[in-house]
Every structure is written in structure tokens, then in C-alpha cells.
């Protein structure tokens, strides 16, 4: 282990997050993978731990409000930039780039490629800023450009990103132990993450993408529908189907593992 524990810990936490463990536990915490018949979760619920019974406002609600205010801030920044305020671009980048990067990184599995696509996406937005409709939502537009650029690149290269095996190679358990997480918790999370990723990879791309845009990128059903060029109902249906497939796969795998 390195002699400087804090930076190493930060790096490990980032690896941990990138590995998919974090979002798996988050989804699990909001009941995404509850078996059928159990308490239903609000379909709009995003990330965050379950609410305390007497909490004044649930964290998921706060997260949703935060996401909406971030979208509104991005819309305002884009509107200003379209109107000619050059300084608004930096603000727009700060608001959009992390979300676009997460979306692209998950799809390309290549940090370098994801960065390049973020750059291209922002550049395309810059070129078309004069044609941005006043009051339009910039988030679905940005995601749709990013998606198109990614598809074009994949078509050109005819090579899809290799399926990563959750984070960097190496002694994963030793790394995660540095996070002070219980080993069985870590192993369980990684197992769940692997199952989910395998199932997602087997799904039809349109179902997987709808699910990822809504559950991982925090877009609303309407925004995801815009990105995918389809109807809100179709996005809800695809997300629901994907959740059902994942639930079934997890139930089968985890029950089988315990038996």
C-alpha cells in the first residue's frame, strides 16, 4: 500500500465507483431490485438511501430536486450562451460534462474515448448555439448529440468497446479493504454488479440505453424519450422490462448462490 493513505483512498473510492459497485448498492438501497410483490418504489425515484420515517424531506426527493435544479441551471447557461454570453460556456461545461462523461464512459469503457466524445459533443453544441431554441431543454439535446457521436464512431471503427471487468485489474479485495468496507459486503456488491452488467450486455441495446439514461444518468422519462427519439410510454416500457429482467436474474443467481 502506498505511504499516503488519503489520496490512495480517494483513488480507490473512484475505482470503486467506476466499478459499478456504488450504483449497484444505490439501486439496491432504493429498492430497484425488490422482488415482485414487495413494496413498490416510485418509478421516478433516483439514487439515494431510503428515507427515514420521520425525515422532513426524503433524500431521494432532495436528489431529484437537485437534479432538476441542475438541469434548470444548464438550460439557463445554454440560453445565455446562445444569446452571446461567451462566459456561460464554462458554466455549461461544468454542469454537463460530468454527466455526459459518465454516460459515455459507461458505453465506450474507455476514458480517453469518453473524454474525446465529451469534447466533440460540447463543440457541436458550440457550433449550433445560434440555433438553440429559447427555453428548450439542453440536457436531452446534449445527450442525443453524445449518443449520435458515439454511434457514428462505433460504426466507423466497427469495434465496440471491450467489456471491462469492473475497474482496474489487481488485488481488488485488498484495494477495497482500504475503504473499510466489510469484505462480504464488497464481494456481494461486486457479484451483484457483475450479474447486472452481464444481463445489461445481453439486453437489446434500446432497452439497455433507456434503462441507463433513466436509472443511471438521472434523465426523466420525457428527456430519455427525446434522446432516443421515441415516446415516453416506450421509455417507461423499456425501463420496466429491463428492471424485470434484472430482478429475475438477480433472484435466480443470488438464490442459487445461497442454496
Amino acid at each position: 500500500m502506498p505511504s499516503t493513505p488519503m489520496p490512495e483512498r480517494a483513488r480507490l473510492e473512484e475505482n470503486h465507483e467506476e466499478s459499478g459497485v456504488t450504483w449497484v448498492t444505490e439501486w439496491a438501497s432504493v429498492g430497484m431490485f425488490e422482488v415482485e410483490g414487495s413494496d413498490k418504489t416510485d418509478p421516478e425515484v433516483r439514487r439515494g438511501p431510503p428515507a427515514e420515517p420521520d425525515a422532513p424531506a426524503s433524500p431521494t426527493r432532495e436528489a431529484r430536486v437537485e437534479s432538476q435544479s441542475s438541469d434548470a441551471a444548464a438550460d439557463r447557461a445554454m440560453d445565455r450562451y446562445a444569446s452571446g454570453d461567451a462566459a456561460a460556456f464554462s458554466e455549461l461545461y461544468d454542469l454537463l460534462a460530468p454527466r455526459l462523461f459518465a454516460f459515455l464512459l459507461r458505453s465506450t469503457r474507455s476514458r480517453c474515448e469518453a473524454e474525446d466524445l465529451v469534447q466533440q459533443t460540447m463543440l457541436k453544441m458550440h457550433c449550433a448555439r445560434g440555433r438553440f431554441i429559447r427555453g428548450a431543454g439542453v440536457v436531452p439535446w446534449a445527450f442525443s448529440i453524445a449518443r449520435r457521436l458515439m454511434i457514428d464512431r462505433a460504426r466507423r471503427s466497427k469495434v465496440r468497446g471491450t467489456l471491462g471487468d469492473f475497474g482496474d485489474a489487481g488485488d481488488v479485495l485488498a484495494q477495497l479493504a482500504a475503504l473499510d468496507l466489510a469484505v462480504d459486503e464488497v464481494v456481494h456488491s461486486r457479484l451483484v454488479g457483475k450479474i447486472i452488467q452481464q444481463e445489461l450486455d445481453q439486453l437489446a441495446p434500446r432497452n439497455r440505453l433507456a434503462f441507463e439514461l433513466v436509472k443511471q444518468d438521472g434523465l426523466t422519462h420525457a428527456e430519455a424519450a427525446k434522446v432516443l427519439g421515441t415516446t415516453v410510454m416506450a421509455v417507461k416500457l423499456r425501463t420496466h422490462r429491463t428492471c424485470a429482467v434484472l430482478r429475475a436474474a438477480l433472484r435466480k443467481s443470488l438464490n442459487g448462490g445461497d442454496a
Binding site: 464554462s90 460534462a97 462523461f101
Partner: protein, 217 residues
């Protein structure tokens, strides 16, 4: 380095790049677009006048007004459905665009046959009016606004540029048909198919092809 963020270099190089390649802000772009679209519409109107403008050609006024009014309503719905985007950069769903692009020419055909059938000899063949002139006329009237509108929306549709272009082509073709109806008195069905419906298909196909080239970012 934060692994959930693009590296700082990306932002720096992007800022450098946009400094070197300035883009037109909205106020200026809006003026350009207005000029471009107005110019295209003027060309279309000039072509209409050049072809002879409104021609009654022995038609009953109610037949002519009814035909034009029905076509205008269908065209207005098509323009709203396929050109309008509301307050969104990404247009309507692909399935919606395809459905309206197919349904609106069929609705036009049905309306013209229905309304002309209400009049004696309304659907009769007229010697020497095969439909090629109407075909050329509609294409001429629709082509200028199609190119202008596609150009004014260049680089903005990342979801379905082809279908959006197709929708624009069909909708503008229908709008051109309103003028063509004021000019052409023939409602013989083969003539309608060749001179009034085929140009919509051609403009839709042209929009599909040009949309992929122009509308895609």
C-alpha cells in the same frame, strides 16, 4: 484526478478550440434564418406567379375553395406535426414523424377525391393533363423552402435527422400543394397520383437524404 470527471485538459483544450472557431450567436442567426426563409418563400411565390397564378379554369367556386381549404388544413396539421418542435431541440418521436408523413398525403388524396366527387365530372380525365406539369410545379414550389429550412436547422437534430428531413419535405410539399390546387383544376385520380402525391414522395425522399447530411450534428 477525479475519475468521474473528464480531465481538466479537456476543458482547457475545448475553450481554446472554441476561441479559434467562433460561432454565430442566436440574435444574428435568427436574422439570417428569417432572411433565408423569407427569400425562399419569395422565390416560391415568384414561381407560382410565373406559372400563371390562380386559375379557375371553369371550376365551380365552391369546388375550388373547398379543395384549397381542405388541403390547407391538412398542410397546416402536417406543418405543425412535422416541422414544429415546440420548445425542444429534439423533435417529435420517429414513429410520430413516420406516421404523419405517410398519413398526410393519403389524407390529401382522399380529400381531393371526396370533394371533387361531389361535383359532376369532377373526377373526369382532361386531355393532355397527365400530371407532369403539376409534378414539376409542386417540386419547384417546395424545393426552395425545403433547402432553406434544412439549412436553418443545420446540425441540430442528433436523434433522427433523416426522418426529420423527410417530415419537413412532406410538410412543405403539402404547403406547396395548396398553391398548386389554386392552379390545377384536374382531379382525375392517376393525375392526382402523379402530379400531386408523387412530388410529396420525392420531396420527402429528398428531405430524408438532405436531412441526414444537413441536420445531423
Amino acid at each position: 484526478m477525479n475519475r468521474s470527471m473528464p480531465s481538466a485538459d479537456v476543458k482547457m483544450s475545448l475553450l481554446r478550440e472554441i476561441e479559434g472557431a467562433p460561432s454565430t450567436p442566436r440574435p444574428l442567426e435568427s436574422k439570417r434564418t428569417a432572411r433565408l426563409v423569407a427569400g425562399a418563400l419569395l422565390l416560391s411565390i415568384a414561381a407560382f406567379v410565373g406559372y400563371g397564378g390562380v386559375r379557375i379554369a371553369g371550376r365551380a367556386p365552391s369546388l375550388m375553395i373547398g379543395t384549397i381549404a381542405g388541403t390547407a388544413i391538412i398542410a397546416a396539421v402536417a406543418v405543425w406535426a412535422m416541422i414544429g418542435r415546440g420548445r425542444a431541440m429534439v423533435g417529435r418521436a420517429s414513429s410520430w414523424l413516420t406516421a404523419v408523413a405517410i398519413a398526410s398525403p393519403l389524407a390529401l388524396l382522399a380529400w381531393k377525391i371526396f370533394w371533387s366527387a361531389q361535383y359532376e365530372h369532377g373526377l373526369d380525365r382532361i386531355e393532355g393533363r397527365v400530371g407532369f406539369r403539376c409534378l414539376g410545379f409542386t417540386l419547384t414550389l417546395g424545393a426552395f423552402p425545403l433547402v432553406a429550412l434544412l439549412f436553418s436547422r443545420r446540425g441540430t437534430d442528433a436523434v433522427h435527422p433523416g426522418r426529420a428531413g423527410m417530415g419537413i419535405g412532406v410538410a412543405l410539399g403539402l404547403a406547396a400543394t395548396v398553391l398548386v390546387d389554386a392552379w390545377c383544376p384536374v382531379a382525375y385520380v392517376p393525375h392526382l397520383l402523379l402530379g400531386h402525391i408523387l412530388p410529396l414522395v420525392v420531396l420527402g425522399a429528398a428531405g430524408l437524404w438532405l436531412g441526414k447530411k444537413i441536420l445531423a450534428p
